[in-house]
Symmetry: C2
Subunit: 426 residues, 2 copies
């Protein structure tokens, strides 16, 4: 495990941080927000206070770190990430120093200009996403899907344990937590009909995933080894890969999911750096059969991060429908990147990869309604007396995630999206 000073669990801040906050002084993630009356800018967060990094720059608090003002006066963190991990570490370290109780520096006297209640800040998409790839890296999820739709005795397809299976997704429709989502319309084919019908999706689902953001370009033709891969991963977000199961079923043969996914994906607003997640490294599942050399790796490449999904009904009730963990994934991020680039495919700063639905072995850890309700055969009872096979209009789906080690909790906040009725044809 890398020793990173800003991760020191002993550090305390002069900013109040509740014990169950995802954002202690050891986190310092990056995002883009609009503090009250201000333009969009690169921010961080501690406790429930957004830190305005542009203002920090203007106050001279990054003195000695060579970084242009435009990097923070920016609607995305891409230019910040493109500075490279060393520079980003210097900035994270400096923010950590400014926040420490032992060394309030000048920040406390400036705090009225620097810190804003998160409830008063509009958070925006942190990253301008170039390409987006969705993997399918949970053995339990792939097994559940194969069991339901194909053959329980051969649930995993022959390629699954050789390849971190993935496909290209739609980048333009990745939105930040809080963005309203309209139920998509499209073609579906009822089981009892030879012909498709057109209308609102009837089987709307979430998928509990984690996404990682690439912070470094590669050239076309360049491969990334598993050993190098983490140099290219700036940080992680919660990722809800909304899915229209009925649209997907009709459209996806032979070229894969398309409109069933492209109407929206919801991410959390704060990109938590891979650095901040160092304490949560853990071993991944054994891989058998042995994978090709380009997919072999050394060290702990999985991360022990508790994940949950809540459904909130319109009356405000909340039901946790899934408790899973990022460590369950069969294929880790380093393997995903090594596979993605083995053919020479290039990456650009801001490209994003998601894990695929993260399911565990137990039904309560399944990461989609498709699995939780087992194709609708096991409805979920909600606190308001209704039940759910899939997601209803008016439901808000909230993803949350964090790691805990001793007293330090590093989390992601929320990726939340409320489902609104399908739009009428204009």
């Amino acid at each position: 495990m890398k020793q990173i000073e800003a991760n020191n669990p002993e550090l305390k801040s002069w900013v109040h941080v509740a014990p169950d906050s995802d954002f202690p002084i050891q986190n310092i993630p990056f995002g883009v927000g609009m503090p009250p009356g201000k333009t969009a800018r690169v921010c961080s967060i501690i406790g429930d206070k957004v830190i305005d990094l542009l203002e920090a720059w203007d106050l001279g608090l990054f003195e000695g770190i060579s970084v242009d003002r435009e990097v923070f006066a920016n609607r995305h963190i891409n230019d910040f990430m493109a500075l490279g991990k060393e520079k980003c570490r210097e900035v994270r370290q400096r923010i950590s120093e400014l926040l420490r109780v032992e060394d309030p520096f000048q920040a406390e006297i400036h705090s009225g200009r620097l810190l804003f209640p998160v409830s008063q800040c509009q958070m925006l998409m942190p990253v301008k996403v170039g390409d987006y790839t969705d993997f399918y890296s949970s053995e339990e999820h792939a097994t559940n899907v194969g069991t339901m739709f194909r053959d329980p005795d051969n649930a995993l397809l022959p390629n699954w344990k050789h390849i971190p299976v993935g496909y290209h997704g739609r980048a333009s429709s990745i939105v930040v937590s809080g963005t309203p989502i309209h139920r998509p319309v499209g073609q579906t084919k009822p089981a009892d009909s030879d012909n498709p019908v057109f209308g609102p999706c009837k089987l709307l689902d979430f998928e509990l995933e984690m996404g990682f953001v690439v912070g470094k370009d590669t050239r076309l033709g360049q491969r990334i080894s598993t050993a190098e891969a983490e140099d290219y991963i700036f940080g992680l977000v919660l990722f809800n890969d909304w899915s229209a199961r009925d649209i997907q079923k009709w459209e996806y043969v032979p070229l894969g999911p398309f409109l069933a996914k492209s109407f929206a994906s919801t991410i959390s607003p704060w990109v938590v750096t891979l650095d901040a997640l160092e304490p949560f490294r853990t071993d991944g599942p054994d891989q058998n059969p042995e994978v090709f050399p380009y997919l072999q790796y050394k060290g702990k490449k999985n991360f022990d991060l508790d994940l949950e999904v809540a459904i909130q009904t319109e009356n405000g009730d909340e039901k946790i429908v899934c408790n899973s963990n990022f460590k369950y994934l069969y294929w880790n991020m380093a393997q995903q990147l090594a596979h993605h680039t083995v053919n020479g495919c290039n990456f650009k700063v801001g490209d994003m990869c998601a894990s695929g639905t993260i399911s565990g072995k137990e039904p309560e850890s399944f990461g989609s309604m498709l699995e939780i309700s087992w194709k609708g055969t096991r409805p979920v009872q909600m606190p308001d007396g209704t039940s759910r096979k899939f997601i209803n209009d008016g439901d808000k789906v909230v993803l949350r995630g964090h790691g805990q080690k001793g007293s330090v909790r590093i989390g992601f906040g929320e990726a939340a999206g409320k489902i609104h009725p399908a739009k009428e044809w204009e």
Copy 2:
């Protein structure tokens, strides 16, 4: 058909244009090039002369058209497209006027500063591509593939005539004509083995496609009707969707093609405006069964554009292996956009969609080696005495395309790529 003055077939230029040039005064496409000793900038072309539009701006030749210098002092045409079709039409019209034999204006005396032999200009990617979608819109291609790999009696899948089937592709690896392409490596599974092997692709193929470039944003949740669709299409390019057939076969179930395609796609450097293609509108194939209302359209939405594919061997011999036509497509671009956005998926300026392989009914019009050699069973004889089932190292694949109406020929130039051996593992 829209009357566009710059399309007038009577127009002649003071710049010499060979009769078989793709770029007469009626074309005026847009691209990005580096004239000798100059930085990248937005350009056009007439005959074999690149027109430096930044220089034209500096010379005041766009006076009266409100457009910022930065639009032309740019590595991509995205900002130019984002001005909107009306503004782009004004610019195209002005360029047309500057080039006319009757009205050389001041351009001829400036021509030493404005015009550069295309052989001396390095052409770059014209567009910063956001998202890229590949359709599968040729009935003949889909039928050929279905016949070879599934059931000749049910070659088309049940969804094919209801849906313009498509999938997301990789945007980062779309490269401009002339960029060397290395044979990809990856996993494949030989037919006689239970286990995959790793190594260079053995069945490397081209796909003859046309791509269109979106020039106008939509909001998330906004649908584009077939009637509106062409307002969103700025122009077209030739598109070679390089494909590794053996990698594809092993990886593509259940989520579609991934590394088999993402190593590279090659486009032509000039974006030919939809306006310039007005004379070539034609009817598309009858669609039966009737499509859903959101896919119905009025008017001529196909385009009569002759397309060809040549393979050049290292000794310089060339063999034309395919003569096809863009008009063969079953699903037109307006239907593709209407389908793509029916679920609310948003578009951004610079997004690209490709048609899928464009095959005709006759074997000489098949748009991929897979079809031409019928899975390798009908090798193609080359002028140098060798034969081809797929593409060899050292082969250069050249796509060309143009429409001809009377004496006016509007073309695309070339999308060319030479295959280099697979890179050694670093």
